[in-house]
């Protein structure tokens, strides 16, 4: 390493994808041996900028200085040579390879594998000791937890002698405990003189882990500040460009009668593996029950079973009437008839048809509504379009054009279309999964308000989210799921992140 002040300096970086200007004249300087945060909303251009730095995309204009020297980075090989390592949000690992094989891939010592494997085995043992990065080198990636897979990605970078490590949204898939471990690793790297760039949209992580933070908004770099001199509120305002309420303002819940009672719900998947192992709970009118948990612990199956999308066994009772869990009547249409609205977790696969226009999407699932029929044969498209425009206005969908295909809207506005369609029916029970995934802060604020308003109007809400902040700020009661079971019910007023994190990792705090 040289003795330059900055590990990385970007000057005037611009990049466009077709008509979309993803990065516009970006300047940033990252001091050596620091953890530098880059924060911004979805689509602000953070990932694009880092992909340019890693040689994954070519910038249209601009210069990159590494360690004070002008360093063109036309491909990932050059980035690796310049000492830059990247941990992508979606891991770039080969699932049926061992840890060792993944680590040496592309960084082999020669045409034969055996020498590389021996050297890598020793190097991994050293790195594990130095940085709390222990992983079984002979384990297959597909058998590792997400947290361990991420360690493999970090090991890959360190094995390639990276001095600058970029992490793109590293905590999205981690439990709070795993995230803490990650931040300890990053601090260790910093203490060894390495530079870390942390890309995230979570303000809390920025405050906790970084020395400096750069804020991006709509493709431009808005500000770079010392973390110690900033606050979550000021950063949020920089990100969005206006004042944002980070806390959801809500009155205490006023729960009524039990709306839905779930008893011993079980689901087996196609491979015969039990994904839900006897889940039971009640939801009352006018309350929000939040389901917390790391993705893949049965929350999706729970929503699918309640929404009539998946066969299950057990018993669910809606206002005293048993709903079928398999066979006739276990489908979305019957559930809607029973007063259940469903905002599915994956809006692209289950919530919208991206090639359909907004008004066609608003009709989905409600196409038999008498208000949308002209006569026995034809639908009343004019009425439907008028209704869609009303919904778009009420939910502030931008642009408010009913004929635009769903794929032309941003993630947040797509989600508003789905939410509008389901909430405007005044359901007795609302199932809502990952309501703000891929949605920008401004829209998050809006959707959260709508959920609370619906609750105050007496709807029972089942909220599933992997964002613990969201669960804690919206829920009136919190259930934590792990491995297909509910580990415990907590009151958000008296619990904390640490307790929930332990439950999410399968450790029951009471028993321990």
């Amino acid at each position: 390493m040289g003795d330059a002040q900055y590990a990385i300096e970007l000057k005037g970086i611009s990049k466009a994808f077709g008509p979309v200007q993803a990065n516009r004249d970006i300047n940033i300087a990252v001091p050596k041996g620091t953890i530098h945060g880059i924060i911004g909303e979805n689509g602000a251009g953070k990932s694009t900028l880092m992909s340019i730095l890693y040689g994954f995309y070519k910038a249209d204009a601009g210069q990159i200085f590494v360690d004070g020297k002008l360093t063109p980075i036309p491909d990932s090989q050059s980035a690796i040579r310049a000492g830059i390592g990247m941990v992508f949000q979606h891991f770039k690992l080969v699932q049926n390879f061992t840890v060792l094989e993944n680590v040496i891939l592309g960084a082999e010592d020669g045409p034969m594998l055996s020498t590389s494997l021996t050297r890598a085995r020793k190097a991994l043992a050293d790195l594990a000791r130095e940085y709390e990065l222990d992983v079984d080198p002979d384990a297959l990636i597909e058998d590792l937890s997400v947290g361990h897979q991420q360690r493999v990605e970090i090991l890959k970078a360190l094995y390639r002698q990276a001095d600058i490590l970029i992490l793109d949204e590293p905590t999205g898939v981690l439990t709070p405990d795993e995230a803490d471990h990650l931040f300890r690793i990053l601090k260790g790297l910093k203490d060894q003189g390495k530079t870390v760039i942390l890309i995230t949209h979570k303000l809390r992580e920025i405050m906790e882990a970084t020395d400096n933070v750069s804020v991006m908004r709509r493709g431009t770099m808005v500000a770079t500040v010392k973390t110690a001199d900033s606050s979550p509120e000021s950063l949020a305002e920089l990100m969005v460009g206006r004042k944002v309420l980070l806390e959801v303002a809500k009155e205490p819940a006023n729960p009524g009668a039990v709306v839905l009672s779930v008893k011993d719900l079980r689901i087996k998947d196609d491979h015969g593996v039990e994904r839900l192992k006897g889940v039971s709970f009640d939801i009352r009118a006018g309350e929000i029950l939040g389901i917390a948990g790391v993705a893949g612990n049965g929350q999706s199956e729970l929503l699918a079973a309640l929404g009539g999308m998946m066969k299950a066994s057990g018993k669910i009772t809606m206002q005293g009437v048993d709903l079928p869990l398999s066979g006739k009547g276990a489908d979305g249409q019957s559930r809607r008839a029973a007063g259940i609205a469903h905002v599915p977790e994956d809006r692209h696969h289950h919530g919208l048809i991206l090639d359909f226009s907004a008004w066609e999407n608003v009709a989905l699932g409600y196409h038999n509504d008498p208000a949308y029929q002209k006569n026995a044969l034809f639908m009343d498209n004019d009425a439907l379009i008028a209704d869609t425009e009303k919904k778009m206005a009420r939910f502030d969908v931008r642009p408010p054009i009913a004929s635009l295909p769903a794929k032309s809207f941003s993630g947040g506005n797509q989600q508003k279309i789905v939410v509008a369609r389901e909430m405007e029916r005044n359901p007795t029970l609302l199932l809502i999964g990952q309501p703000t995934r891929g949605v920008d802060i401004g829209a998050i604020e809006f959707i959260h308000k709508q959920i609370v308003a619906l609750r105050d109007a007496g709807t029972a809400v089942l909220l599933v989210s992997v964002e613990l902040d969201e669960i804690m700020s919206l829920s009136d009661r919190i259930a934590v799921m792990f491995d297909g079971q509910i580990m415990g019910l907590r009151d958000p007023a008296t619990t904390n992140e640490r307790e929930l994190g332990l439950l999410m990792a399968g450790m029951n705090g009471e028993a321990a």
Binding site: F56, S78, M86, K92, V94, I104, L105, E108, P111
Partner: protein
């Protein structure tokens, strides 16, 4: 069935299984790199015609082999350009090339020789002739093993032994070398290779080229060793049978040897209705025996061999995510 008959059957199995083995290994390289290749059939056909034509014109079987590899490579490059460079649909490209091969081979052969789309019969140095392995004559009288060595192992063309040698070579290449590691990685998760700074396109093209070479050898074997010249549609679906064998073998080289020899055995049985009749005890229609390898193919493709998980990125053109 006596021992001599069994040996004859096994001898035919090896003879008939060889083009399947070559094509199956060819497909293995391409599919392990994530490029599905339904066009093995077309490449073999193209190679068979090229081998038959050049061997007939020059009288040299080795020039015929080179021509076969060149002919097959042209189709491999076309498939590569369509499915790697232009990210086209790999199945459609493969099917199109099969149709093209089916027509163009007959057309060229007819234009060159005017013999109804066939190439002239090959003789002498225009063919790969059987090789008697060392000591085959001497060991012939050793009980049991002697005749096995003489009848089954010895007395095939050099291409048969080459095909058998390709099995351990392929295994070694895939699991012991850097190239093999990258090849397997690019078929499972091309992004892992791309982010490691290695060219996805380069690796995939290399794999598709190897497929072309091996299909070329398979086609040359058809026209210059198994038979004496090219005839219309002479591969008779062997490219598809090889694909079924590849699935049966779950994309692994040693298992590919076993799977293709099983198919070869069924083809050998079809040639010996008398043996089948003696074993079964009643007359079996020859057409039914002929159909056996294809029935087995259908069963394999319908998933009766258990779950076969193809390379995860198979069939998907690689596009960098935004």
């Amino acid at each position: 069935m006596d021992y001599a008959t069994l040996l004859q059957l096994l001898d035919s199995t090896l003879r008939l299984g060889t083009p399947l083995l070559l094509a199956c290994l060819a497909g293995l390289y391409s599919e392990r790199a994530g490029i599905f290749d339904i066009g093995l059939e077309g490449k073999m056909l193209m190679a068979a015609m090229s081998a038959g034509a050049v061997a007939a014109m020059t009288g040299s079987v080795w020039l015929g082999l080179l021509a076969a590899i060149a002919g097959s490579m042209i189709f491999a490059i076309l498939h590569g350009v369509a499915s790697i460079t232009f990210r086209g649909n790999q199945l459609i490209s493969g099917v199109a090339l099969n149709f093209l091969a089916s027509g163009i081979t007959v057309l060229i052969a007819q234009a060159l020789f005017g013999q109804g789309g066939r190439t002239p019969p090959l003789t002498g140095d225009g063919r790969f002739n059987p090789i008697v392995l060392p000591f085959a004559e001497a060991l012939k009288d050793v009980p049991v093993l002697g005749p096995l060595y003489f009848e089954v192992i010895s007395g095939h063309s050099i291409l048969v032994y080459a095909a058998l040698a390709f099995v351990p070579m392929t295994w070694w290449l895939l699991y012991r070398t850097r190239f093999g590691l990258r090849l397997r990685a690019v078929g499972e998760n091309p992004a892992s290779v791309d982010t490691a700074g290695v060219s996805v396109k380069g690796l995939r093209f290399a794999a598709v080229m190897i497929t072309g070479v091996l299909c070329g050898v398979a086609g040359a074997y058809m026209a210059t060793a198994l038979q004496a010249g090219f005839g219309r549609e002479m591969t008779a679906g062997r490219g598809y049978i090889a694909l079924a064998a590849l699935i049966f073998a779950k994309w692994r080289p040693w298992q590919a040897l076993g799977a293709t020899m099983l198919f070869g055995f069924f083809q050998a049985l079809a040639l010996r209705p008398d043996v089948v009749e003696a074993v079964v005890g009643r007359k079996v229609p020859v057409s039914m025996l002929d159909a056996l390898p294809y029935v087995l193919t259908v069963l394999v493709l319908a998933g009766f061999v258990g779950k076969a998980i193809p390379p995860r990125a198979g069939g998907d053109p690689y596009v960098k995510e935004r």
